[in-house]
Symmetry: D2
Amino acid sequence: MQDIGTLAARLRDFAAERDWEQFHTPKNLAMALSGEVGELVAELQWLTPEESWAVMDDAEAAARVRSEMADVFIYLTRLSDLLGVDLLDAAHRKLDEGERRYDAATYRGSARKAPPLQ
Amino acid sequence: MQDIGTLAARLRDFAAERDWEQFHTPKNLAMALSGEVGELVAELQWLTPEESWAVMDDAEAAARVRSEMADVFIYLTRLSDLLGVDLLDAAHRKLDEGERRYDAATYRGSARKAPPLQ
Amino acid sequence: MQDIGTLAARLRDFAAERDWEQFHTPKNLAMALSGEVGELVAELQWLTPEESWAVMDDAEAAARVRSEMADVFIYLTRLSDLLGVDLLDAAHRKLDEGERRYDAATYRGSARKAPPLQ
Amino acid sequence: MQDIGTLAARLRDFAAERDWEQFHTPKNLAMALSGEVGELVAELQWLTPEESWAVMDDAEAAARVRSEMADVFIYLTRLSDLLGVDLLDAAHRKLDEGERRYDAATYRGSARKAPPLQ
């Protein structure tokens, strides 16, 4: 069954077979992640919000978006594996914090930033 | 059991409860992803490669890195859910392509970019 | 008279006085630039296009935008100084190329990307 | 004489001639800036710090770096023009603040972040 751990293991093998571990320092992986997010942003930068909802309707644009999102996820997974960060666990903990910081009554319909939890 | 689909569902509820779906256009989510990657990069920017390997040894730095990686993963998952992109499937297909583009004999130990597949 | 050269010189002194040159490798400066652009993007990410036109009308938001743009410009100038890149000259040459790649008749009103010049 | 104002004026004409002003909302320009910084970061991501100092020694790499830095500067200038931000003035004010926040005696040789000014 596919899960993040399976992907992380495949990425370890992929890097090891090519002797690429030397390039996979946390600094370099963060930079690679940044570069790939830049490519994803570039796919949407000239679209209106409405056009951005329809970006997957064009087969070529959809393929590029899918490819860039794959690259972002690949570098994020690789970095999480090397730093020992469990992405799903960290995300759920962040949402637990988000539920306390952004109670629905106060922040409904608002994009303003909440102060940090004490 | 935790998986990306469970996280995506929790993010749908989190946004719906706060009437935040109006802010979650693909453009805005790509920008949010970009902002969070920037915060992650900032945690490592002044470190040497060696120091970056040890970033998780400092409890406060580790908490910030974990928090920023969670934010990146949250926005990536939310965007993938709204655009109908299966992150794990897309990543594995990208690696299948990577195995053809970057055969180990030619690219071992090298970080140069390979031409696209024909 | 204020110009980029004067800013670059002030940045050299600022770094030298604090023994910060050790941190200003091109990699680190590119990462810092990326982090600051992330902060700028974060100021606009939840705004509609129309709201983004009015971001400078709110005094606090305007101050944050000005501060982030200053940081981006500072790191870009510092990096250009250390790599020997003349930003204004490079920009004008890029526009000369842009005028050849994007002739007005063909690209008027369109955001599509032009093929590279032969 | 070349200065930022001259570049901003050329960018206004360039956009007007192609009826591109519709695409140049502050949101879109911030996204474009983010995409271009991503391309610049990608040029340095696999290099060691030492190799990054020598990136301009390779003619092709140097041309790509110069091109990406030009693109970053172009979008930053365009955005500053549309938002009414004086980049040089904002940068110098940020450095004035930096001199107060980061007194040389306390922060010499250290990359730690200083608390904001009161």
